[in-house]
Protein backbone atom coordinates (compact mmCIF):
# COMPACT_ATOMS: atom_id res chain seq x y z
CA UNK A 1 0.00 0.00 0.00
CA UNK A 2 1.12 3.53 -0.68
CA UNK A 3 2.58 5.24 2.34
CA UNK A 4 0.78 8.25 3.73
CA UNK A 5 4.06 9.90 4.67
CA UNK A 6 7.42 9.07 3.17
CA UNK A 7 10.42 11.20 4.14
CA UNK A 8 14.07 10.50 3.38
CA UNK A 9 16.83 12.82 4.58
CA UNK A 10 14.33 15.66 4.51
CA UNK A 11 15.80 19.06 5.34
CA UNK A 12 13.69 22.13 6.12
CA UNK A 13 14.92 25.59 6.95
CA UNK A 14 13.51 28.26 9.19
CA UNK A 15 15.33 31.22 7.72
CA UNK A 16 18.87 29.88 7.62
CA UNK A 17 18.36 27.51 10.55
CA UNK A 18 17.94 23.86 9.58
CA UNK A 19 15.08 22.94 11.91
CA UNK A 20 14.89 19.59 10.12
CA UNK A 21 18.37 18.32 9.39
CA UNK A 22 17.62 15.00 7.76
CA UNK A 23 14.42 13.22 8.72
CA UNK A 24 13.55 9.68 7.70
CA UNK A 25 9.97 8.72 8.35
CA UNK A 26 7.50 6.24 6.87
CA UNK A 27 3.89 6.20 8.01
CA UNK A 28 1.29 3.83 6.62
CA UNK A 29 -2.32 4.97 6.09
CA UNK A 30 -4.46 4.53 9.20
CA UNK A 31 -1.48 4.59 11.56
CA UNK A 32 -1.32 6.77 14.65
CA UNK A 33 2.26 7.79 15.30
CA UNK A 34 3.55 9.69 18.30
CA UNK A 35 6.45 12.04 17.59
CA UNK A 36 8.38 12.66 20.76
CA UNK A 37 11.49 14.64 21.52
CA UNK A 38 12.74 17.50 23.64
CA UNK A 39 11.82 21.14 23.05
CA UNK A 40 13.46 22.47 19.91
CA UNK A 41 13.96 19.00 18.47
CA UNK A 42 11.95 19.87 15.35
CA UNK A 43 8.55 18.32 16.12
CA UNK A 44 6.53 21.35 15.10
CA UNK A 45 8.57 21.91 11.96
CA UNK A 46 8.18 18.25 11.03
CA UNK A 47 4.39 18.52 11.25
CA UNK A 48 4.37 21.81 9.35
CA UNK A 49 6.62 20.34 6.68
CA UNK A 50 4.23 17.39 6.29
CA UNK A 51 1.41 19.91 5.89
CA UNK A 52 3.32 21.58 3.06
CA UNK A 53 3.67 24.83 4.97
CA UNK A 54 7.43 24.69 5.45
CA UNK A 55 9.24 23.81 2.24
CA UNK A 56 11.41 20.72 2.21
CA UNK A 57 14.57 21.92 0.52
CA UNK A 58 16.56 18.69 0.34
CA UNK A 59 15.82 15.02 0.40
CA UNK A 60 12.63 13.15 -0.45
CA UNK A 61 9.20 14.14 0.84
CA UNK A 62 6.06 12.41 -0.42
CA UNK A 63 2.82 12.96 1.46
CA UNK A 64 -0.54 11.46 0.45
CA UNK A 65 0.98 10.45 -2.85
CA UNK A 66 2.22 13.91 -3.81
CA UNK A 67 5.80 15.10 -3.86
CA UNK A 68 5.88 18.03 -1.44
CA UNK A 69 8.70 19.59 -3.36
CA UNK A 70 6.62 19.70 -6.52
CA UNK A 71 2.96 20.15 -5.66
CA UNK A 72 2.57 20.92 -1.99
CA UNK A 73 -0.65 22.71 -2.84
CA UNK A 74 -2.44 19.44 -3.58
CA UNK A 75 -1.38 18.11 -0.20
CA UNK A 76 -2.39 21.15 1.83
CA UNK A 77 -6.09 20.94 1.23
CA UNK A 78 -6.15 17.30 2.36
CA UNK A 79 -4.36 17.69 5.69
CA UNK A 80 -5.66 19.05 8.96
CA UNK A 81 -3.13 20.87 11.11
CA UNK A 82 -3.73 21.60 14.75
CA UNK A 83 -0.88 23.83 15.76
CA UNK A 84 0.08 26.32 18.42
CA UNK A 85 -1.83 28.90 16.41
CA UNK A 86 -5.56 28.30 16.44
CA UNK A 87 -6.28 29.66 12.94
CA UNK A 88 -9.24 31.71 14.12
CA UNK A 89 -10.30 35.28 13.37
CA UNK A 90 -10.58 37.07 16.70
CA UNK A 91 -13.43 39.33 15.66
CA UNK A 92 -15.70 36.63 14.25
CA UNK A 93 -17.91 34.29 16.23
CA UNK A 94 -17.12 30.61 16.69
CA UNK A 95 -19.80 29.63 14.19
CA UNK A 96 -18.55 32.19 11.64
CA UNK A 97 -15.03 30.85 11.93
CA UNK A 98 -15.86 27.17 11.73
CA UNK A 99 -18.30 27.69 8.86
CA UNK A 100 -15.84 29.85 6.92
CA UNK A 101 -12.99 27.34 7.13
CA UNK A 102 -15.19 24.37 6.38
CA UNK A 103 -16.92 26.02 3.44
CA UNK A 104 -13.49 27.07 2.15
CA UNK A 105 -12.59 23.44 1.57
CA UNK A 106 -16.00 22.51 0.25
CA UNK A 107 -17.52 21.03 3.40
CA UNK A 108 -21.14 21.79 4.05
CA UNK A 109 -22.72 23.89 6.77
CA UNK A 110 -24.04 20.69 8.31
CA UNK A 111 -20.46 19.38 8.60
CA UNK A 112 -19.49 22.56 10.40
CA UNK A 113 -22.43 22.36 12.79
CA UNK A 114 -21.80 18.68 13.49
CA UNK A 115 -18.15 19.39 14.24
CA UNK A 116 -19.10 22.19 16.64
CA UNK A 117 -21.58 19.91 18.38
CA UNK A 118 -18.92 17.26 18.73
CA UNK A 119 -16.69 19.73 20.58
CA UNK A 120 -19.51 21.02 22.75
CA UNK A 121 -19.69 24.35 20.99
CA UNK A 122 -23.36 24.34 20.04
CA UNK A 123 -25.93 26.79 21.29
CA UNK A 124 -24.97 30.00 23.03
CA UNK A 125 -21.23 29.40 22.74
CA UNK A 126 -21.39 29.28 18.93
CA UNK A 127 -22.36 32.95 18.73
CA UNK A 128 -19.63 34.25 20.99
CA UNK A 129 -16.84 36.27 19.42
CA UNK A 130 -13.62 34.27 19.50
CA UNK A 131 -11.71 37.04 21.25
CA UNK A 132 -13.90 36.47 24.31
CA UNK A 133 -13.33 32.72 24.56
CA UNK A 134 -11.10 31.10 27.12
CA UNK A 135 -7.95 29.38 25.88
CA UNK A 136 -9.57 25.96 26.16
CA UNK A 137 -12.72 27.01 24.32
CA UNK A 138 -10.59 28.58 21.66
CA UNK A 139 -8.77 25.33 21.27
CA UNK A 140 -12.06 23.46 20.91
CA UNK A 141 -13.17 25.87 18.20
CA UNK A 142 -9.90 25.29 16.40
CA UNK A 143 -10.35 21.52 16.55
CA UNK A 144 -13.92 21.85 15.30
CA UNK A 145 -12.74 23.90 12.30
CA UNK A 146 -10.15 21.22 11.56
CA UNK A 147 -12.37 18.15 11.77
CA UNK A 148 -15.11 19.79 9.73
CA UNK A 149 -12.68 19.62 6.82
CA UNK A 150 -12.50 15.80 7.12
CA UNK A 151 -8.74 15.70 6.55
CA UNK A 152 -6.97 12.54 5.40
CA UNK A 153 -3.81 13.33 7.33
CA UNK A 154 -4.12 14.71 10.85
CA UNK A 155 -1.12 16.64 12.09
CA UNK A 156 -1.64 17.33 15.78
CA UNK A 157 0.85 19.54 17.57
CA UNK A 158 0.20 19.28 21.30
CA UNK A 159 -3.49 18.51 20.82
CA UNK A 160 -4.11 18.07 24.52
CA UNK A 161 -2.59 21.35 25.59
CA UNK A 162 -5.01 23.77 27.22
CA UNK A 163 -7.93 21.32 27.25
CA UNK A 164 -9.79 20.03 30.28
CA UNK A 165 -10.12 16.30 31.00
CA UNK A 166 -13.33 15.96 29.00
CA UNK A 167 -11.80 17.83 26.09
CA UNK A 168 -8.78 15.53 26.05
CA UNK A 169 -11.04 12.52 25.99
CA UNK A 170 -12.95 14.00 23.08
CA UNK A 171 -9.71 14.55 21.18
CA UNK A 172 -8.63 10.95 21.79
CA UNK A 173 -11.97 9.62 20.63
CA UNK A 174 -11.85 11.79 17.52
CA UNK A 175 -8.35 10.56 16.71
CA UNK A 176 -9.30 6.88 17.16
CA UNK A 177 -12.41 7.28 15.06
CA UNK A 178 -10.50 9.05 12.33
CA UNK A 179 -7.79 6.39 12.26
CA UNK A 180 -10.41 3.66 12.18
CA UNK A 181 -11.95 5.41 9.20
CA UNK A 182 -8.59 5.34 7.43
CA UNK A 183 -7.08 8.70 8.27
CA UNK A 184 -3.42 8.89 9.23
CA UNK A 185 -2.44 10.73 12.40
CA UNK A 186 0.86 12.24 13.52
CA UNK A 187 0.80 13.48 17.11
CA UNK A 188 3.47 15.51 18.83
CA UNK A 189 2.76 15.66 22.50
CA UNK A 190 4.33 15.99 25.89
CA UNK A 191 1.34 14.24 27.47
CA UNK A 192 3.30 11.04 26.95
CA UNK A 193 1.08 8.59 28.81
CA UNK A 194 -2.07 9.69 27.05
CA UNK A 195 -0.37 9.91 23.67
CA UNK A 196 1.29 6.51 24.00
CA UNK A 197 -2.02 4.92 24.80
CA UNK A 198 -3.33 6.47 21.63
CA UNK A 199 -0.44 5.85 19.27
CA UNK A 200 0.50 2.62 17.58
CA UNK A 201 4.18 3.48 17.77
CA UNK A 202 6.56 6.17 18.87
CA UNK A 203 9.23 7.94 16.88
CA UNK A 204 11.93 9.99 18.55
CA UNK A 205 13.22 13.16 16.97
CA UNK A 206 16.30 14.98 18.20
CA UNK A 207 18.44 17.68 16.70
CA UNK A 208 16.14 17.87 13.69
CA UNK A 209 16.84 14.27 12.75
CA UNK A 210 15.03 10.98 12.93
CA UNK A 211 17.66 8.34 12.32
CA UNK A 212 16.65 5.83 9.69
CA UNK A 213 16.71 3.06 12.32
CA UNK A 214 13.59 4.53 13.89
CA UNK A 215 11.39 4.57 10.85
CA UNK A 216 10.49 1.05 9.81
CA UNK A 217 7.01 0.54 11.24
CA UNK A 218 6.98 -3.22 12.00
CA UNK A 219 10.16 -3.36 14.10
CA UNK A 220 9.08 -0.71 16.47
CA UNK A 221 5.46 -1.67 16.52
CA UNK A 222 6.16 -5.23 17.55
CA UNK A 223 9.47 -4.96 19.38
CA UNK A 224 10.15 -3.27 22.64
CA UNK A 225 9.40 0.39 22.33
CA UNK A 226 12.50 2.50 21.98
CA UNK A 227 11.55 5.49 24.06
CA UNK A 228 14.78 6.11 25.86
CA UNK A 229 17.20 8.32 24.07
CA UNK A 230 19.85 5.77 24.97
CA UNK A 231 18.19 3.21 22.78
CA UNK A 232 20.14 4.29 19.77
CA UNK A 233 23.48 4.05 21.38
CA UNK A 234 24.09 0.46 20.41
CA UNK A 235 22.79 0.67 16.88
CA UNK A 236 25.17 3.25 15.58
CA UNK A 237 23.48 5.67 13.31
CA UNK A 238 23.18 5.49 9.59
CA UNK A 239 23.25 8.85 7.94
CA UNK A 240 21.27 8.50 4.78
CA UNK A 241 22.62 11.75 3.40
CA UNK A 242 21.35 12.85 0.01
CA UNK A 243 19.26 10.34 -1.92
CA UNK A 244 21.54 8.01 -3.77
CA UNK A 245 24.62 8.95 -1.79
CA UNK A 246 26.23 6.04 -0.03
CA UNK A 247 25.25 6.12 3.58
CA UNK A 248 28.09 6.29 6.03
CA UNK A 249 28.03 4.90 9.50
CA UNK A 250 29.18 7.42 11.99
CA UNK A 251 30.20 5.58 15.07
CA UNK A 252 29.33 6.99 18.42
CA UNK A 253 32.36 6.82 20.70
Amino acid sequence: MELAVHLRAAVSLLGRFPALAGVDLDVAPGEIVLIQGPNGAGKTTLLRACAGLVPVVRGVAVVLGHDLRVDARLVRRRVGLLGHATFLYDDLTVADNVRFWSRACGASRADADAAMARLGLEGRLADVVVARLSAGQRRRASIAAMIARRPELWLLDEPHAGLDQAGRDVVDTLVRDAAAAGATVLVASHELDRARALAGRTVTIAGGTIPSGGTTPPVLASGSPVYGPRGRQNDGWVDAGAPGAPGEVVGVP
Binding site: G15, P18, A245, V252
Partner: protein, 281 residues
Protein backbone atom coordinates in the same frame (compact mmCIF):
# COMPACT_ATOMS: atom_id res chain seq x y z
CA UNK B 1 36.58 60.52 -13.43
CA UNK B 2 38.31 57.64 -11.81
CA UNK B 3 37.74 54.03 -12.54
CA UNK B 4 39.16 51.58 -10.05
CA UNK B 5 39.97 48.95 -12.61
CA UNK B 6 41.07 45.71 -11.02
CA UNK B 7 44.80 45.23 -11.13
CA UNK B 8 45.79 41.65 -11.71
CA UNK B 9 49.28 42.15 -10.39
CA UNK B 10 48.36 42.24 -6.75
CA UNK B 11 49.23 39.22 -4.66
CA UNK B 12 46.30 36.91 -4.40
CA UNK B 13 44.59 35.97 -1.20
CA UNK B 14 46.38 33.24 0.64
CA UNK B 15 43.61 31.34 2.37
CA UNK B 16 41.86 30.39 -0.85
CA UNK B 17 45.11 28.70 -1.81
CA UNK B 18 46.13 27.01 -5.06
CA UNK B 19 47.29 30.31 -6.54
CA UNK B 20 43.73 31.34 -7.32
CA UNK B 21 43.40 35.10 -6.96
CA UNK B 22 40.90 36.05 -4.28
CA UNK B 23 38.81 38.68 -5.99
CA UNK B 24 35.95 39.00 -8.40
CA UNK B 25 38.19 39.90 -11.35
CA UNK B 26 39.08 37.71 -14.29
CA UNK B 27 40.97 38.12 -17.56
CA UNK B 28 37.80 39.37 -19.20
CA UNK B 29 36.91 41.98 -16.60
CA UNK B 30 40.49 43.20 -16.54
CA UNK B 31 40.36 43.93 -20.26
CA UNK B 32 36.89 45.41 -19.94
CA UNK B 33 37.96 47.48 -16.95
CA UNK B 34 41.04 48.83 -18.74
CA UNK B 35 39.03 49.77 -21.81
CA UNK B 36 36.42 51.44 -19.58
CA UNK B 37 39.06 53.33 -17.65
CA UNK B 38 40.67 54.57 -20.86
CA UNK B 39 37.23 55.47 -22.16
CA UNK B 40 36.45 57.45 -19.04
CA UNK B 41 39.70 59.41 -19.36
CA UNK B 42 38.91 60.10 -23.01
CA UNK B 43 35.35 61.09 -22.16
CA UNK B 44 36.59 63.51 -19.51
CA UNK B 45 38.95 65.12 -22.01
CA UNK B 46 36.34 65.41 -24.72
CA UNK B 47 33.57 66.50 -22.40
CA UNK B 48 35.51 69.03 -20.38
CA UNK B 49 38.25 70.26 -22.75
CA UNK B 50 37.82 69.53 -26.44
CA UNK B 51 34.11 70.01 -27.00
CA UNK B 52 32.89 73.58 -27.37
CA UNK B 53 30.48 75.43 -25.11
CA UNK B 54 26.94 75.60 -26.36
CA UNK B 55 25.46 78.90 -27.56
CA UNK B 56 22.52 79.07 -25.12
CA UNK B 57 23.57 76.86 -22.24
CA UNK B 58 27.23 77.77 -22.18
CA UNK B 59 29.42 75.24 -20.43
CA UNK B 60 26.49 73.68 -18.57
CA UNK B 61 25.96 71.57 -21.65
CA UNK B 62 28.99 69.56 -20.55
CA UNK B 63 26.80 68.02 -17.86
CA UNK B 64 24.75 66.45 -20.62
CA UNK B 65 27.68 64.20 -21.47
CA UNK B 66 27.23 62.36 -18.22
CA UNK B 67 23.55 63.06 -17.56
CA UNK B 68 22.31 61.36 -20.72
CA UNK B 69 24.59 58.30 -20.37
CA UNK B 70 23.63 57.76 -16.72
CA UNK B 71 19.97 57.94 -17.71
CA UNK B 72 20.52 55.42 -20.50
CA UNK B 73 22.31 53.05 -18.14
CA UNK B 74 19.64 53.50 -15.45
CA UNK B 75 16.83 52.52 -17.78
CA UNK B 76 18.83 49.66 -19.24
CA UNK B 77 19.59 48.41 -15.72
CA UNK B 78 15.91 48.34 -14.79
CA UNK B 79 15.05 46.64 -18.03
CA UNK B 80 17.63 43.98 -17.19
CA UNK B 81 16.13 43.64 -13.70
CA UNK B 82 12.69 43.11 -15.16
CA UNK B 83 13.99 40.59 -17.66
CA UNK B 84 15.93 38.81 -14.92
CA UNK B 85 12.84 38.65 -12.70
CA UNK B 86 10.70 37.25 -15.49
CA UNK B 87 13.34 34.74 -16.49
CA UNK B 88 13.77 33.63 -12.89
CA UNK B 89 10.07 32.92 -12.64
CA UNK B 90 10.28 30.99 -15.87
CA UNK B 91 13.54 29.08 -15.48
CA UNK B 92 13.91 29.14 -11.67
CA UNK B 93 17.64 29.49 -12.16
CA UNK B 94 19.25 31.48 -9.39
CA UNK B 95 21.56 32.95 -12.01
CA UNK B 96 18.75 35.16 -13.24
CA UNK B 97 17.80 36.23 -9.76
CA UNK B 98 21.35 37.35 -9.09
CA UNK B 99 21.44 39.24 -12.38
CA UNK B 100 18.19 41.01 -11.49
CA UNK B 101 19.43 41.91 -8.02
CA UNK B 102 22.83 43.13 -9.20
CA UNK B 103 21.35 45.18 -11.98
CA UNK B 104 18.76 46.81 -9.70
CA UNK B 105 21.45 48.00 -7.32
CA UNK B 106 23.49 49.55 -10.11
CA UNK B 107 20.30 50.98 -11.57
CA UNK B 108 19.46 52.74 -8.30
CA UNK B 109 22.93 54.35 -8.22
CA UNK B 110 22.68 55.54 -11.79
CA UNK B 111 19.12 56.78 -11.40
CA UNK B 112 20.16 58.81 -8.40
CA UNK B 113 23.07 60.23 -10.44
CA UNK B 114 20.70 60.99 -13.32
CA UNK B 115 18.59 63.04 -10.94
CA UNK B 116 21.61 64.76 -9.38
CA UNK B 117 23.21 65.71 -12.68
CA UNK B 118 19.83 66.77 -14.01
CA UNK B 119 19.27 69.03 -11.03
CA UNK B 120 22.77 70.49 -11.19
CA UNK B 121 22.14 71.22 -14.85
CA UNK B 122 18.67 72.61 -14.20
CA UNK B 123 19.81 75.14 -11.62
CA UNK B 124 21.85 77.35 -14.03
CA UNK B 125 19.62 76.70 -17.06
CA UNK B 126 16.10 76.72 -15.59
CA UNK B 127 16.98 78.68 -12.47
CA UNK B 128 15.70 75.92 -10.19
CA UNK B 129 17.03 72.55 -9.09
CA UNK B 130 13.77 70.82 -9.55
CA UNK B 131 10.93 71.32 -11.93
CA UNK B 132 7.92 69.08 -12.32
CA UNK B 133 9.07 68.14 -15.72
CA UNK B 134 7.60 64.83 -16.88
CA UNK B 135 10.90 63.09 -17.33
CA UNK B 136 12.33 64.21 -14.00
CA UNK B 137 9.18 63.23 -12.15
CA UNK B 138 8.86 59.79 -13.63
CA UNK B 139 12.57 59.16 -13.07
CA UNK B 140 12.15 60.08 -9.41
CA UNK B 141 9.22 57.67 -9.10
CA UNK B 142 11.29 55.01 -10.81
CA UNK B 143 14.01 55.50 -8.20
CA UNK B 144 11.47 55.06 -5.41
CA UNK B 145 9.98 51.95 -7.03
CA UNK B 146 13.34 50.27 -7.17
CA UNK B 147 14.34 51.38 -3.70
CA UNK B 148 11.26 49.41 -2.66
CA UNK B 149 12.49 46.46 -4.69
CA UNK B 150 15.87 46.54 -2.95
CA UNK B 151 14.15 46.92 0.44
CA UNK B 152 12.10 43.78 -0.11
CA UNK B 153 15.22 41.92 -1.19
CA UNK B 154 16.92 42.84 2.05
CA UNK B 155 14.26 41.16 4.17
CA UNK B 156 15.89 37.94 5.32
CA UNK B 157 14.16 34.80 4.08
CA UNK B 158 14.81 31.40 2.68
CA UNK B 159 16.49 31.96 -0.75
CA UNK B 160 13.68 30.56 -2.86
CA UNK B 161 11.07 32.59 -0.99
CA UNK B 162 13.11 35.75 -1.21
CA UNK B 163 13.75 35.27 -4.93
CA UNK B 164 10.08 34.79 -5.70
CA UNK B 165 9.04 37.74 -3.62
CA UNK B 166 11.69 39.91 -5.27
CA UNK B 167 10.82 38.72 -8.76
CA UNK B 168 7.18 39.69 -8.31
CA UNK B 169 8.09 43.00 -6.68
CA UNK B 170 10.33 43.73 -9.66
CA UNK B 171 7.62 42.87 -12.15
CA UNK B 172 4.94 44.87 -10.32
CA UNK B 173 7.28 47.86 -10.35
CA UNK B 174 8.09 47.49 -14.03
CA UNK B 175 4.43 47.15 -15.00
CA UNK B 176 3.95 50.50 -13.32
CA UNK B 177 6.67 52.31 -15.27
CA UNK B 178 4.72 52.88 -18.51
CA UNK B 179 1.59 53.89 -16.59
CA UNK B 180 3.57 56.33 -14.47
CA UNK B 181 5.35 57.70 -17.49
CA UNK B 182 2.17 58.14 -19.45
CA UNK B 183 0.19 59.72 -16.64
CA UNK B 184 2.99 62.06 -15.62
CA UNK B 185 3.58 63.08 -19.21
CA UNK B 186 -0.07 63.77 -19.73
CA UNK B 187 -0.47 65.60 -16.46
CA UNK B 188 2.52 67.70 -17.34
CA UNK B 189 1.46 68.58 -20.86
CA UNK B 190 -1.77 70.07 -19.55
CA UNK B 191 0.02 72.69 -17.54
CA UNK B 192 3.24 73.65 -19.20
CA UNK B 193 5.19 73.37 -22.36
CA UNK B 194 6.31 69.89 -23.29
CA UNK B 195 9.73 68.89 -22.03
CA UNK B 196 12.39 71.40 -22.93
CA UNK B 197 14.51 70.12 -25.73
CA UNK B 198 17.77 69.53 -24.04
CA UNK B 199 20.03 69.30 -27.03
CA UNK B 200 19.43 71.02 -30.29
CA UNK B 201 18.89 68.53 -33.11
CA UNK B 202 21.31 70.45 -35.31
CA UNK B 203 23.98 69.56 -32.82
CA UNK B 204 27.62 70.35 -33.36
CA UNK B 205 29.58 67.34 -34.62
CA UNK B 206 32.07 67.22 -31.81
CA UNK B 207 29.30 67.51 -29.22
CA UNK B 208 27.38 64.67 -30.78
CA UNK B 209 30.52 62.56 -30.83
CA UNK B 210 31.17 63.30 -27.16
CA UNK B 211 27.62 62.36 -26.25
CA UNK B 212 27.85 59.08 -28.14
CA UNK B 213 31.24 58.38 -26.58
CA UNK B 214 29.70 59.01 -23.17
CA UNK B 215 26.90 56.54 -23.81
CA UNK B 216 29.28 53.84 -25.04
CA UNK B 217 31.72 54.32 -22.16
CA UNK B 218 28.93 54.25 -19.58
CA UNK B 219 27.49 51.10 -21.09
CA UNK B 220 30.92 49.49 -20.72
CA UNK B 221 31.08 50.78 -17.16
CA UNK B 222 27.67 49.26 -16.46
CA UNK B 223 28.74 45.94 -17.88
CA UNK B 224 31.93 45.95 -15.82
CA UNK B 225 30.07 46.83 -12.63
CA UNK B 226 27.38 44.25 -13.37
CA UNK B 227 29.90 41.44 -13.79
CA UNK B 228 31.63 42.28 -10.54
CA UNK B 229 28.38 42.79 -8.63
CA UNK B 230 27.04 39.53 -10.01
CA UNK B 231 30.13 37.66 -8.88
CA UNK B 232 29.88 39.25 -5.47
CA UNK B 233 26.26 38.12 -5.22
CA UNK B 234 27.34 34.66 -6.32
CA UNK B 235 29.92 34.57 -3.54
CA UNK B 236 27.31 35.62 -1.02
CA UNK B 237 25.09 32.77 -2.19
CA UNK B 238 27.95 30.29 -1.95
CA UNK B 239 28.73 31.37 1.57
CA UNK B 240 25.09 31.13 2.57
CA UNK B 241 24.83 27.57 1.26
CA UNK B 242 28.12 26.47 2.79
CA UNK B 243 26.86 27.94 6.02
CA UNK B 244 23.90 25.62 5.57
CA UNK B 245 26.18 22.61 5.47
CA UNK B 246 27.83 23.75 8.69
CA UNK B 247 24.45 24.49 10.24
CA UNK B 248 23.22 21.00 9.37
CA UNK B 249 26.22 19.49 11.14
CA UNK B 250 25.63 21.65 14.15
CA UNK B 251 21.94 20.83 14.21
CA UNK B 252 22.53 17.08 14.04
CA UNK B 253 25.08 17.35 16.80
CA UNK B 254 22.20 18.37 19.08
CA UNK B 255 20.90 14.84 18.69
CA UNK B 256 24.24 13.48 19.89
CA UNK B 257 24.08 15.69 22.91
CA UNK B 258 20.62 14.41 23.67
CA UNK B 259 21.61 10.80 23.03
CA UNK B 260 24.80 10.64 24.98
CA UNK B 261 24.53 11.90 28.49
CA UNK B 262 28.29 12.45 28.48
CA UNK B 263 29.53 15.92 27.45
CA UNK B 264 29.29 16.58 23.71
CA UNK B 265 31.89 14.69 21.76
CA UNK B 266 33.73 17.05 19.43
CA UNK B 267 35.41 14.21 17.57
CA UNK B 268 32.09 12.75 16.52
CA UNK B 269 30.85 16.10 15.27
CA UNK B 270 34.07 16.71 13.40
CA UNK B 271 33.92 13.31 11.80
CA UNK B 272 30.30 13.78 10.78
CA UNK B 273 30.98 17.20 9.33
CA UNK B 274 32.95 15.77 6.43
CA UNK B 275 30.25 13.37 5.33
CA UNK B 276 27.38 15.73 5.74
CA UNK B 277 29.10 18.56 3.96
CA UNK B 278 29.66 16.19 1.04
CA UNK B 279 26.16 14.77 1.15
CA UNK B 280 24.52 18.15 1.20
CA UNK B 281 26.19 19.43 -1.97
Amino acid sequence: MTSPAPSGTEPSGTAAGAGAPAHTGSQGTRVLGSVTAAGLVMLSLFALVFSPAEADQGDAVRLMYIHVPTAVVAFLAFFVTAAGSALWLWKKSRWWDLVAASSAEIGVIFTALTLVTGMVWGRPIWGVYWTWDARLTSTALLLLLFLGYLAIRRVPAEPDVRNRRAAFAGLIAVVDVPIVHYSVNWWNSLHQEPTITRLDPSIDGLMLFTLMLGIVVFLLLYLWLLVHRFRLAWLEEQLASSDLAAALVERRAEADEATISAPPAPSSAAKASGTIAEASR
